[in-house]
């Protein structure tokens, strides 16, 4: 197989996930032995309309983004969503909890009606086009990114954790945050991060999105046991998972 040409495109995001690829440092040379980048705004100045693999970072927040994404999808054989903004909409979906006029006024004030500041409710990449692979997380874990790239290069289906963060949290021998009377999104959030937040004393923020079949009914009943309310839970869920189907 000849080296696939890769283009990385950013939409609404902080570009921190691209930065994680740049942060691969000495491994970048190895990465380049497997793929050839033809467009990657954060690292090279080339641009191209011909590529095999498109990597999409960021979420879709304007009608014109949607058109651009469709064009990219048409040109690419494989499309990868990179990071929480692209895979689940991420923090950009927080604005979907408000009216778009309020959002625009709050952010842009008097300038809100200028044409380049148009906005609409945030969407994840797969709400618009077919996504072949997802690199979850905020930010992504560049080891997982490397693993997925190697799988694509060898024609192997990557095995991405489908189970909750609790699995990895137990492997890390952490005490459950619930035992300390805190709400943690670990039981409903996709693993793959090595339970990084709970291992460092925080609760799980849910940045890798929900597991395929989160038990939201259990969530409500269990909250009572720990003296918490659905409101407490939703307050945490909206950060990365506003508008997910299970609400």
């Amino acid at each position: 197989m000849s080296k696939p040409r890769v283009a990385i495109f950013d939409f609404a995001c902080c570009e921190g996930c691209q930065l994680q690829i740049v942060n691969m440092e000495e491994e970048i040379i190895d990465l380049l032995s497997v793929v050839t980048p033809v467009e990657w705004r954060e690292a090279i100045s080339d641009q191209s309309t011909e590529y095999d693999i498109a990597i999409i970072e960021g979420s879709i927040t304007r009608p014109e983004d949607e058109e651009r994404l469709k064009t990219i999808r048409d040109r690419a054989k494989v499309l990868i969503a990179l990071g929480a903004c692209a895979t689940i909409g991420g923090v950009n979906k927080l604005k979907n909890n408000f009216g778009m006029d309020d959002v625009k006024s709050s952010v842009y004030g008097e300038a809100r009606d200028m044409p380049h500041l148009s906005t609409y409710p945030t969407k994840a990449a797969d709400e618009i086009v077919k996504v072949d692979y997802k690199v979850h997380g905020c930010p992504i874990d560049n080891r997982e990114f490397a693993y997925i790239v190697k799988c694509i290069a060898t024609g192997k289906e990557p095995v991405i954790p489908y189970y909750p963060v609790c699995v990895e949290c137990k492997e890390k021998e952490n005490v459950c945050r619930f035992e300390y009377g805190e709400i943690c999104l670990g039981p409903i959030t996709r693993a793959g991060c090595d339970a990084r937040c709970p291992s460092n004393g925080a609760w799980c923020f849910g940045c890798r999105g929900f597991v395929d079949d989160p038990n939201m009914n259990a969530g409500r009943e269990i909250l009572e046991k720990y003296g918490k309310t659905v409101e407490d839970l939703m307050h945490r869920i909206v950060l990365f998972n506003t508008g997910r189907k299970e609400e």
Partner: protein, 339 residues
């Protein structure tokens, strides 16, 4: 078999002596809980711990381990041959290791597990502080006879050091000023054992152990499975912390040359949604209820029939790890007995 008497101070000196020769994993505080970890010196060793977050199983079957490295068609097994001492294993955890030894040495002898196991010297320790959820008294594992290389029992303010095996003897070798324990002290351990058998019963268990496999046999359609599973997150916490769970997944991880890499084994668990997913996309335990029920059948019947004892040692870790509070085996077996 020989018996020595040590003060706690003697014991710590002994551990420091061991640390100059070999890796010792002992129980240390982890926040307000406890965990087995590599010891640097004896001062951090806790002999009064109630229970560790993970069982010492992690030293024989680590959460992640490399089974082999490959290059093209060639491969080399990766086997960890470093000797170590596991210091302060409670009887219920030792009973679990006894079951795991049977599992990993029968059928396909697992060289990764068995090499670690054969290179380990186990210093057992009778429980001094019961944990809130320990029900090992119900499971006949509050006290253990044999299986250890050395057993430590605290009687009043001193320890009886019961050296049982050649490996145990090797560990005590070179210690100066060893005092042989008088028989009266050795015998007084029975008081500790009787006390532990009766106090390590955080939950009542109504059926007898021999009754459990038969009880399960006729309970496939019991309402308790659906009732409890309703609250299950399929998060696998109960099986990840279990000292007798040993299921694993195996995946390859390629290097950048794409032709060499490692084969990695990692913990897996029957409570996870895709555990029973097979080629072709069929999942033969698709629902939470089927998976929840399976855990009890596996503990109380399938593995029990294979190793000759119920595959639950009553450590209570699943009870504390389960956020919805549905993982208590006593509660479930009692329900089956009642109805």
């Amino acid at each position: 078999m020989s018996y020595y008497k040590m003060s706690e101070e003697d014991l710590r000196q002994w551990v420091d002596h061991l640390l100059s020769k070999v890796t010792v994993y002992g129980v240390q505080a982890k926040g307000d809980r406890f965990a087995f970890n590599a010891l640097n010196d004896s001062s951090s060793l806790r002999l009064d711990y109630d229970v560790t977050i993970l069982p010492p199983k992690k030293y024989f079957l680590p959460p992640k381990e490399t089974l082999l490295s490959y290059k093209g068609q060639k491969y080399d097994s990766v086997v960890d041959e470093k000797p170590f001492v596991l210091f302060g294993v409670h009887p219920y955890d030792l009973a679990a290791i006894r079951q795991m030894d049977k599992i990993f040495s029968s059928d396909n002898n697992d060289i990764h597990y068995m090499t670690r196991r054969n290179n380990a010297t186990i210093v057992a320790l009778d429980v001094q502080t019961p944990s809130a959820h320990n029900f090992s008294g119900n499971m006949n594992t509050a006290v253990i006879e044999g299986e250890y290389d050395i057993l430590l029992t605290k009687v009043d303010s001193s320890y009886v050091v019961d050296v049982r095996t050649g490996k145990g003897k090797e560990l005590i070798k070179g210690m100066s000023g060893l005092v042989t324990a008088e028989m009266a002290l050795v015998d007084s351990r029975h008081k500790v054992w009787e006390e532990n058998k009766s106090r390590l019963r955080a939950y009542p268990l109504k059926p007898s152990l021999s009754e459990i496999p038969g009880l399960l046999d006729k309970s496939r359609e019991h309402p308790v499975w659906a009732e409890k599973a309703e609250l299950c997150f399929s998060c696998g916490s109960c099986v990840m912390v279990c000292p007798t769970c040993y299921c694993f997944d195996v995946q390859d991880e390629a290097e950048w040359d794409l032709s060499s890499g490692k084969r990695i084994r990692s913990w897996d668990g029957c409570m996870l949604e895709r555990f029973a997913l097979v080629a072709g996309g069929h999942n033969f335990r698709k629902t939470k209820e089927e998976r929840y029920r399976h855990r009890y059948y596996r503990k109380g019947k399938y593995v029990a029939e294979k190793v000759g004892e119920i595959s639950c040692v009553g450590c209570g870790r699943c009870v504390s790890a389960c956020v919805p509070g549905i993982a208590n085996p006593c509660e479930v077996y009692n329900r089956l007995k009642e109805d």
